[in-house]
């Protein structure tokens, strides 16, 4: 067993690094540039029951050490994802985490029911936290009761473990985390983007056509670390941490906060080779910090809390 191995429900990861959903398309886009089998896993773009066009443009705006996006869950819909996108990734030795979104409980259930049929989908990431769509998304992630109900509904039909992606756009994240754990979630992924806005001084209008968007990038890392730290002390299910990861030190900081694996988001756009670079650099930094293996580190953090 390698010192980078991490074992999570449904996921035996050869290393803990994976691109975050929405920041890696359906994976194939980056396969032109490196061997995707290097990755611990891939969290593919959100899938909804039917095709979604997404929001009008502009959909992105720069912020200090970050980015706002309002893509609006554009995707070709479940049928097309099952027919083309997921099979295209089968040639790579990498587990897929399918991000599932919807605008009603029924929508989520229908996608969750089917998407685990793809042989490479090893887990579902239930997206109850997208800030960029009017119906669904975040509306499910800001109420503990609804989050629990949706988790239970997804679990009742899913053929693979269900991880729930939490929103940071709440007064307190712990009750939501506890609710999804009580609803049977196998794990938590966190954090989704923070709701933000930028205005154009010349036009006096929002830069994004949607008005608001989701803030990501290194600017949000302290928020992610704080929330992972809080949630990891309140629940027993594992956490895949994300939010502003740029360096191997960020990866290890997420582990110290309580994560058991780490997803990289915005930085894929800045440096498309960021994931293989982090995987390559991680052992050396672990040596320097006296970390024998990641499983040992996870255990130590759990025992210390």
């Amino acid at each position: 067993m390698s010192r980078l191995n991490v074992s999570l429900p449904g996921l035996d990861l050869k290393n803990p690094i994976m691109p975050a959903s929405g920041c890696f398309g359906f994976g194939d886009e980056y396969s032109k540039y490196y061997d995707l089998s290097l990755l611990g896993a891939i969290m593919v773009k959100a899938t909804t029951i039917t095709m979604r066009y997404g929001n009008p443009t502009p959909r992105v705006a720069e912020t200090p050490s970050g980015m706002l996006n309002a893509i609006g869950l554009q995707n070709p819909g479940l049928e097309e994802v099952m027919r083309n996108q997921l099979p295209a990734l089968e040639k790579w030795d990498v587990p897929i985490i399918a991000n599932v979104a919807g605008s009603s409980v029924e929508d989520y259930v229908r996608v969750c029911e089917k998407i685990g049929d793809a042989p490479n989908v090893k887990a579902i990431e239930l997206n109850i936290s997208c800030p960029n769509v009017k119906e669904g998304g975040i509306a499910f992630g800001t109420s503990a009761g609804i989050a629990k109900e949706l988790t239970m509904a997804a679990k009742s039909v899913a053929k693979v473990p269900v991880y729930v992606k939490l929103s940071p756009n709440v007064t307190s994240i712990v009750p939501i985390a506890k609710a999804v754990e009580a609803g049977g979630a196998d794990g938590i992924t966190m954090i989704n983007t923070l709701l933000g806005m930028r205005l154009d001084l010349k036009t006096r209008q929002p830069i994004l056509a949607n008005g608001t968007g989701g803030l990501s990038g290194p600017g949000i890392k302290p928020v992610a670390i704080r929330m992972i730290h809080e949630v990891s002390r309140a629940v027993d299910i594992p956490i895949i941490g994300m939010g502003g990861v740029v360096t191997v030190d960020d990866v290890l900081e997420m582990f110290l906060a309580g994560a058991s694996a780490v997803a990289v988001g915005t930085m894929n756009f800045t440096d498309p080779f960021i994931c293989p670079t982090l995987i390559d650099e991680l052992p050396k930094r672990m040596d320097e910090l006296g970390i024998e293996s990641l499983e040992t580190l996870i255990r130590e953090v759990r025992e210390a809390r």
Binding site: G54, S65, I71
Partner: protein, 259 residues
């Protein structure tokens, strides 16, 4: 697509706030089509988003390429401060580039550009010139003081300029210019355009049903390689779907997308 730390060979301001930068590196070998772009990481750690900038010139014999850009934000201002021998993180070449296979020696072609959309048309012009085409360049600028590459374009074909304020050549936008030139010349074999969406729309309308009209689109990008779905534009055939400017463009055939 490759990533390389390219070297700044030269940088100069060719008009107020318009800069020409020459870069050298192995990446130049991959640059094969006019209209492609490179995705530049701004050398300042808080500016995360790369800037897509089209290739103005590709020089395989010297392993160099040129970009021309306007400083209208923090990123391009940082870029304009780079000096000779500085290194720049570049991804590319990206995008599909202009199709010019159908152009034969002696064919009349229109190359139409506006403002900061003009740079990729220079490399295109060089390649069309090498094919023996008769080129009519129709370039629009805001005013005389921001006109650039006048002599360069004149070496490749006939250059017509329009300025918004009338301070140089014809007053008005390129659309007016286009009407005049069309009357003077033969029907073009192909039309290539790059510039603001108003310009692209007027080109598309003027050459409705022409089989070889190619339009270079611009949209805010994040990844530049088709993964983030930021830079989309609606497909004309099926408005419920859209096309990614970075990956499926930036050049689209007339009628392919809604501008």
């Amino acid at each position: 697509m490759l990533q390389e730390m390219m070297t700044v060979v030269n940088q100069k301001e060719i008009a107020p706030d318009i800069f020409e930068m020459t870069l050298s590196g192995e990446l130049v070998k991959e640059m094969t089509k006019p209209g492609q772009f490179i995705h530049i990481r701004i050398p300042r750690s808080d500016l995360l988003m790369r800037r897509p900038i089209s290739l103005a010139e590709i020089d395989h014999s010297n392993h160099t390429c040129k970009i021309i850009y306007r400083t209208d934000g923090e990123g391009t201002t940082v870029l304009s401060q780079l000096k000779q021998n500085d290194l720049l993180d570049v991804l590319g070449p990206l995008g599909n580039g202009f199709e010019i296979e159908m152009v034969a020696p002696g064919d009349v072609v229109y190359v139409i550009g506006g403002g900061i959309g003009i740079p990729p048309l220079y490399q295109l012009g060089k390649e069309l010139f090498a094919k023996g085409a008769t080129i009519y360049f129709l370039n629009g600028f805001a005013s005389k003081e921001v006109v650039y590459y006048e002599e360069e374009f004149k070496k490749l074909g006939e250059l017509f300029i329009a300025t918004d304020d009338g301070s140089c050549s014809i007053k008005g936008h390129v659309g007016n210019l286009m009407e005049e030139i069309v009357l003077q010349t033969k029907t073009p074999k192909a039309v290539f355009a790059c510039g603001p969406s108003g310009l692209l729309r007027s080109v598309e309308e003027r050459f409705d049903n022409h089989p070889h009209v190619y339009l270079s689109m611009e949209e805010r990008m994040a990844c530049g390689i088709g993964a983030c779905y930021a830079c989309v534009c609606p497909s004309k055939k099926d408005p419920a779907k859209n096309k990614k400017v970075c990956d499926e463009g930036p050049i689209f055939k007339s009628g392919e997308v809604i501008i």
